[in-house]
Subunit: 334 residues, 2 copies
């Protein structure tokens, strides 16, 4: 490999000068600069980012840990982070915890060892407060993405309460009283928030908590069982709200198995939705997240934090849009 020493020799200058030409860190005579650039060209020299990072105490790289790279919403967030990081000239190190707190912890350690300038974390479902311990005080900058918490870190996610409230009002406005919420694993902040908002909104609509229909479960199997039980009640739900793509898929499978039709037998709405869903039947009412934007914002917050570690943490909530389609009956005129 060519190093700065070789370039310096060929150009007849010191390695200091080569370094300063490379980085533009101090003035260099135009003649000298040309010699250096020529030598760089001839030796096809490439800077060693490792050595540079070690001296500068900065790697120009960031880490991203997602909880479920298989979810389309997370795939979009990854794209948002990658694109923004690339624009910043920052390299992205990617890890997937697959909802396993132990894998998450290992990923954090690996990224910290690699001395990334900061980390963006979408926490795994069972991830406890100890996962954030390495970031408290003046440690490595951290941005929480999608799954937010009360901790004093920069955070970016979506508004979860407002869309649930709107959906509930829309459905109760159509006369639905028995609405099933498929909430899934409420250890996940997004799902917890949606569940809480549901409880409140139903209460406001005159359905006390004790009479509300909710499926909360930490595994796919238990979710399926819960949905099955709810659908086979003697007074079954007339509407379903599923709180994620995976939960919507689970609910739709059960609904199809029972031979129920949307929206005649059952109204249906889902968070996140399905890619290219506009091409297929049934057309589902969907709460669409600005997932790419969430990722992009996370990268921007992290860059700001890296530049100024003293600033107050900021929490950004982006607004999803509700796309009303045939699965909840007629489109509201509002």
């Amino acid at each position: 490999m060519t190093t700065m020493v070789k370039v310096a020799k060929l150009a007849g200058v010191s390695i200091s000068t080569v370094s300063h030409v490379l980085n533009g860190t101090r003035h260099v005579n135009d003649e000298t600069r040309q010699k250096v650039l020529k030598a760089i060209e001839e030796t096809s020299y490439r800077q060693d980012a490792l050595a540079r990072a070690m001296r500068r105490n900065r790697t120009d790289s960031i880490g991203l840990i997602v909880s479920d790279g298989g979810e389309p919403a997370f795939a979009e967030m990854i794209r948002g982070v990658e694109e923004t990081a690339a624009k910043q000239g920052v390299t992205l190190l990617l890890a997937n915890s697959a909802e396993d707190p132990r894998r998450e912890a290992r990923a954090v350690q690996a990224l910290l060892e690699r001395r990334v300038d900061g980390i963006i974390l979408a926490r795994a479902a069972g991830s406890g407060p100890e996962a954030l311990a390495d970031f408290a005080g003046q440690g490595t900058p951290l941005v929480l993405m999608d799954r937010l918490s009360e901790d004093p870190f920069d955070q970016v996610g979506v508004e979860n309460r407002a869309p649930v409230k709107e959906l509930v009002q829309h459905l109760t406005g159509q006369g639905h009283e028995r609405i099933l919420l498929v909430a899934g694993d409420t250890r996940v902040a997004t799902l917890r928030e949606r569940h809480e908002a549901f409880t409140d909104a139903m209460e406001s609509a005159g359905v006390p908590a004790a009479k509300q229909l909710v499926v909360i479960a930490e595994s796919a199997k238990k979710t399926d069982a819960g949905i099955r039980a709810a659908l086979s009640r003697s007074t079954p739900p007339t509407a379903v709200i599923a709180c994620s793509t995976v939960l919507a898929a689970a609910a739709l499978r059960q609904i199809q198995q029972r031979g129920l039709r949307l929206p005649d037998d059952l109204a249906f709405a889902a968070f996140d939705g399905f890619a290219y869903a506009d091409l297929f039947e049934p057309q589902l009412t969907t709460v669409r997240q600005p997932a790419f934007q969430v990722g992009a914002t996370a990268a921007e917050l992290l860059a700001k934090r890296i530049a100024d570690k003293g600033a107050e943490p900021s929490v950004v909530r982006l607004a999803p849009t509700i796309e009303y389609r045939a699965s909840t009956g007629t489109t509201p005129t509002a």
Copy 2:
């Protein structure tokens, strides 16, 4: 930050010994080791992967450049690479070229500067031979993923010719003669192979190249125009094969706009398909790629190559499976 010097002082040993305890690179008295481990614990020492990489001339990291992180198939490949790399104790650096050769070239340089141990590359559509120049000879190991070439590198992708042949035979066997192939940008190796196989298979079925219906286009706009033109012929196609998810979506939109119904007005089959498509109508006949496995295999090939730079390059083709559904009429009994 705690360094080895601090640990060594606290344990009353040399930094050599600390290093050897950490890496298990030579025998250390049990008593001495315990002292070192205790000091590591007390100082909450964390190894600096940068300094380590610089001395060892190895970063234990690999780079992955995908051409379109938005495609579900690539999202799956990313997961396959990530999971396999994590098992190997290797960190993944991710870049997305978004089908732009210039972004691809920049990503290659950035990864090389970071001295990754190897790179996995799914080339952008317009990426020329110069993109591979840095990897010829005994340069950084390279594995080509999904989009293969004739160059002497390790490669992993899917079998493209056999499924096209099978689909064509299936359709011609049902009496279809005017089959439209939506091939897209045939600068992309996978799409080129599918197109070539189509030409051959149709020829074998008695349709000479001059009479075959094919849409080849480098942009979404031209693709749309081509599909529209094909569907509005006086003798329109009776069947469509779309060579990717994006192309299938483009074709389906045109088909819906014209009010055509599957499979009565038109038989339809697509490569890659749509996530959760089993839940929706119409049910599409799909060539399903083992995308996760492609990614996992790429990471394995790269690890082998890093371990043995002298070995002959190997080319792996994984077999897709064709899932026949209602969009091509009755399921064949074969």
